[in-house]
Amino acid sequence: MKWYASLATACVFLAACGAPSGDSGEPEAAAESVAEPTGLLNVYSARHYDSDKELYKRFEDETGIRVRFRESGAAELLEAMKAEGDNSPADVIISSDAGTLYRFKDAGLMQPVESELLATRIPEHFRDPDNHWYGLAKRLRVIVYDPARVEPEQVDEYADLASANLEGDVCMRSSTNIYNLSLMGELIDRLGKDTAEAWARSVVANFARPPQGGDTGQIEAIAAGQCSVALVNHYYWVRMTQGSDAQRKSVEKTMLSFPQQDSWGAHVNVTGAGVAAHAPHKEAAIQFIEWLAGEEGQFLLTTETKEIPLVAGAEMPEGLDRLPPDFKESIFPLNQLGENQAEAQAIYDRAGWN
């Protein structure tokens, strides 16, 4: 039996199709509109937004550097880059979580970048102390609540979610979600492991339903009256104010509370980028990250996502005016989020927060 025939077939497939396949979304456009590409840039991105494709294209148009991108889950990008080793085509790594950026750095997959421009534009606490990665847009994990059932004072701290008077009122998404892991990563350092775990247990005791759905789902659950409070990233709420009729109807029944305004401030995380350790196009990579910190980059990075630009004076995306005009945000060494991630998951697991 020619059993090996199928293996051979597989290899043929591979030869035909196995070459790096994450071509630019519009390869023809890249090939034709830029008559003479002066360079090439391979982006590994853990974000999935249509606006990013627009962003790459604008960068191409302005610089003549052709962008090829791969979008995938952060963990998979990490595994892929480890596997590719020295031969990795990756130039720039983009992730929407500082903890993940730290893991790339920790795995030796990034290299330090000295950039005047970035150093001046990006506040210090939003970038890696060793300059391996730079934050570019920020987000806040805040409390969303039903004003008909809950007073604002009842939910002005994360600790309030664990309060006995919210029993049966709390909706949460799964603890495996990076936003919840990231928050716990900060709480571990702020409160200590034991207190953080006690908090998680009390929150679990307050659950109106087992963890499920995404951030939007939590807002909808509050609007539908299933629960009264939840944790969400601010931008999900903002996006819903500009969403479908049903979404607008839901979101207008809820309000946001920015926690810890009298103490350390609301939990912040960033979308950031770094240069790959073996970047074949290091110059272009730095150019790209600097461009992202520029006026146009900041706008394109946040206009669809409703994240908050990090560079002072950058144009705010539409709809952010629904947030309070000023609020206190937590200043916290973001690499800790990555270091604490496994511990955070362990705490949630022990607390029974699925």
Binding site: S6, A10, R70, A80, G213, G225
Partner: protein, 537 residues
Amino acid sequence: MSALAAIRRFRFRSIDGPALLAGLIIAVPVVVTLFAGLMNGGGEAWTHIRDTLLTGYTTGTLGTLLLTALMTLAVAVPAAWLVTMYQFPGRGLFEWLLILPLAAPGYVLAYAYADLMGLMGPFQTAIRDVTGWTARDYWFPDMRSLPGLAFVLTCALYPYVYLTARAAFVSQSVCALEAARSLGASSARRFWQVALPAARPAIAAGLALTLMEAAADYGAAEFLGVPTLTFGIVRAWQSFGEPAAAARLALVLVVIVIALILTERHTRGRAGSQQSSTRWRSVSRARLPRWAGLGAMAACALLFLTTFVLPMSRLVWLVMESQDQIAPIGRALVNTLILAGSGAALAFVLAMVIALTARQSGLIAGFARLMASTGYAIPGAVLALGALLVMGYLDITLTGAGAIVALAWVYASRFTTSGAEPMVAALGRAPASMGYAAESLGASPLRRAVSVDLPVALSGAMAGALILFVESLKELPATLMLRPFNWDTLSVRANAYATDERLAAAALPSLLITLAGLLPVILLSWRLSHSRPGDTQ
């Protein structure tokens, strides 16, 4: 013949080489996983999983299996009885329509049902709009729960039991039922005390299949947020990056699967199974009285609507309604064709070897068959883990050719049996004496296989190839774990969009998967309706 005697009499024959190779290829992933699970400590991650999550995973899996089993039996057996024994409006149509849900994998139904029955789905929204209540003022079944998962899996998998029960009822000795009548047994007693016990081994076999598939499910459990062992395996590998811990979990899952198989064997017990009657007579279906007939029709219609029409319409509606949110899937389609195609190609060759050696009894052929059916019982996540471990030992990365070969290997390891089945059936239709004739003419077993059996088996090959391709295409957890970087398939995309809460985007690949899944199901129902002994209707 005792195993020992078989070993003593064993001679290596020309046909044994390919069979041995096929058996080994199929066996390696599961053997490696089990070995790793037994030998490695499992690391720190395992300690954590064991102390905090293992109980939840295990009860999740067992609870899901139990509930799925109960619901499947409650639905599938009466449905099979109804369409086999009674005449009512639409019976002929429902007889095969009720198989169609087999086309949609559990995760696809999970997406559709979570959306339909969710807080913002049409039903709950309507309740709140009409009554002015809030979600706290009424009870509504929660799909994102263990019963919800069992419901979804029942919808997707009940046809296995429906098929085997129906086959048992059709082929049961009609005479036994008539004998029971002549002994004064009422129709209820005939069902409970004659037909059902006689069909029990067949029903148990169908149920075992259902539960193996349920235990293998990853997508639905993950999406509905029910912690199960399969979910735990993927997670242990994905978020803890700890294959050894995942292998430990796999061990628990394999123990459960083996328990399932043993239970199924046990139900056969000493009591004889179906005596195949030598004389066929069409089941003279009792015509149900008007209202009972309409009731039977309504019950079948309800079953079909619930398990197939309703969820699929929701997906179609999602695609139509929110076209702007639909992501392009051309690339995923190509990836799917290549990956599932490679898997199907490898599995096809192995299935052919299994099918050809199935007729030549022997130790090695038996080993190959056993390995193939073992592979089918083992969840894809476990096999994928085995492949990952092998790749780890060999230092092959998940980026290039290695990953495609590994994935094709896992597909083959899991699905070869299902592809071999139609070929074995085709061979079964040719008289065994044909093979003996060839051997008496001096043909070696290998030559007999190639020149006599192969052409016969090819008539079943189309069906086998189709089944292999579609099964590979529907597979989710192994594909998720093993696909080469940037090689998202339809199932992976559907899963990614769904977990991203972009259901409209998930709907299109989900529908395509279901559409592909319909092909072998329709083939199956066609074969079914054309090979029914003695039934002229």
